[in-house]
């Protein structure tokens, strides 16, 4: 299988770890901000660290908003990349891509919950999802975030930390994960392998 993945470069740092994770699977990942290259890719990953405001500004400055929304191939948003797929984010009141109809909210710090939510947490897989094939329920993934999507009809996995929120969403060809599969050991590697193998 000679799959290739386009990793969208929105100007945020730390795209290398995503590229390396695909390389470890023997999958070539090309970092690009070229609309034509993204539109013609067989797989697209929208990574992201930093803030929703900076991430969306990067996407808009590069005129990639409609390019990403119009993609028909499997698309995986990771962490901020998933959050940017929502309608809007409470983080600096940012309008996002609107693929998932919900608002990204700050995690609750009620009861002295330490934020950011940082480290390895268990994931409650809600439904049969192609992404989680072969991954046991309650597997641990690595998280680093302070904002998240609430649980919505498109939620395929959730996590409880202070409150319960979405950690995986799925709608047609769009997938989002709040954790970092590229840094989640062999479990994360399996999820990326599943993404590469998705046939719509």
């Amino acid at each position: 299988m000679t799959e290739s993945v386009a990793v969208v470069d929105t100007g945020c740092a730390n795209i290398a770890s995503v590229v390396f994770a695909f390389e470890r699977l023997g999958v070539h990942a090309a970092v690009t901000s070229e609309a034509s290259q993204i539109a013609s890719a067989s797989r697209v990953v929208l990574p992201g660290v930093g803030s929703a405001g900076a991430g969306m500004k990067g996407i808009r400055d590069l005129n990639l908003e409609s390019v990403i929304k119009d993609l028909k191939c499997p698309v995986l948003g990771i962490c901020l990349g998933m959050q940017m797929m929502a309608t809007e984010s409470a983080e600096s009141n940012t309008d996002c891509l609107g693929i998932f109809e919900t608002t990204v909210e700050k995690l609750s710090n009620a009861g002295g919950t330490v934020l950011p939510h940082m480290g390895w947490n268990t994931v409650d897989v809600k439904s049969q999802s192609k992404l989680f094939g072969g991954i046991p329920d309650s597997s641990r993934f690595y998280f680093v975030h302070s904002y998240a999507l609430p649980v919505i009809p498109d939620t395929t996995a959730s996590c409880m930390y202070g409150s319960t929120f979405s950690v995986a969403v799925e709608r047609e060809n769009f997938f989002g994960v709040q954790f970092h599969p590229e840094r989640s050991g062999s479990t994360g590697s399996k999820l990326l392998e599943n993404f590469v193998g998705i046939q719509l």
């Binding site: 945020c12 390396f20 330490v114 950011p116 390895w120 840094r183």
Partner: protein, 257 residues
């Protein structure tokens, strides 16, 4: 439930992993990538790669080994060492590090914390704090330039004041190394770490003093820190990460197995 993290720290000097006692007498422990992979395979939750020479010699940590580690490692790691500007930080993050940790440069220029947070977000900005208990005045003080015993000096801040300031400036995590305990293997400074944990709302990582499995149990149970960092007990093979986590799990501490 969020797992408590076990974090081996690889002190790096001139491209090799080293470990000293009380910040002195550094001995070479091995090459960086093989050691990093060994810990990942043994079940380490995260690694810290700390270039202890960087602040003094005024050079940014070499990107070559950062990239080598990022390419092969599938768990998160942070890099510390001489990061003095947004551009320095970008360089490290672009080479695949998940977080950057700053210590002396933050003390020299606290506004750097705000700048880094603005550019990259709180989640990847870790503040390293070297705390020293002064028996004369009964206070914990922050030290800077701790990579070299001849350059190490007391900063003009009490530890509790400094950790509070770093959180106000947007830090995402703090690693508190208690210098009195470092390399002595007589246990973490649990009361000090507990005080810090109760003072700030961000993750606190304990450092300095791990010698036995029960030291880890104690610091998680008593101080409720998010993670525990250690170096020599892991490098020497006295404690294997996998065995440690099995023991912690048996003691009822939530860990990733």
């Amino acid at each position: 439930m969020l797992a408590k993290r076990i974090i081996p720290c690889l002190d790096v000097r001139e491209g090799k992993v080293v470990k000293g006692v009380k910040f002195k007498d550094h001995r070479i422990m091995g090459d960086i990538v093989p050691l990093a992979l060994r810990y990942a395979n043994e079940g380490a939750d995260e690694l810290v790669l700390y270039d202890i020479t960087a602040s003094i010699e005024e050079r940014v940590v070499s990107s070559t080994w950062v990239r080598d580690v990022a390419r092969q490692l599938d768990i998160p790691f942070s890099v510390a060492g001489g990061i003095k500007s947004v551009d320095d930080a970008r360089h490290i993050l672009e080479n695949g590090a998940d977080k950057i940790s700053i210590n002396t440069p933050a003390l020299m220029n606290p506004d750097l914390i705000n700048q880094l947070v603005d550019h990259f977000g709180s989640q990847c900005i870790v503040i390293g704090v070297d705390s020293f208990y002064d028996a004369v005045d009964g206070q914990y003080h922050v030290y800077s330039h701790t990579g070299d015993v001849t350059a190490s000096r007391r900063a003009s801040r009490r530890t509790l004041d400094w950790v509070t300031e770093t959180v106000d400036r947007g830090a995402g995590e703090i690693v508190v190394n208690v210098m009195n305990n470092d390399g002595v293997r007589d246990g973490y400074d649990v009361p000090h770490l507990k005080t810090i944990r109760q003072t700030v709302s961000i993750p606190v990582i304990a450092s300095g003093g791990a010698g036995r499995t029960d030291h880890f149990t104690e610091v998680f149970r008593e101080a409720d820190v998010s993670g525990a960092l250690a170096a020599s007990v892991f490098h020497s093979g006295e404690i294997a990460v996998h065995d440690l986590k099995s023991d912690l799990s048996r003691e009822g501490i939530c860990v990733r197995m």
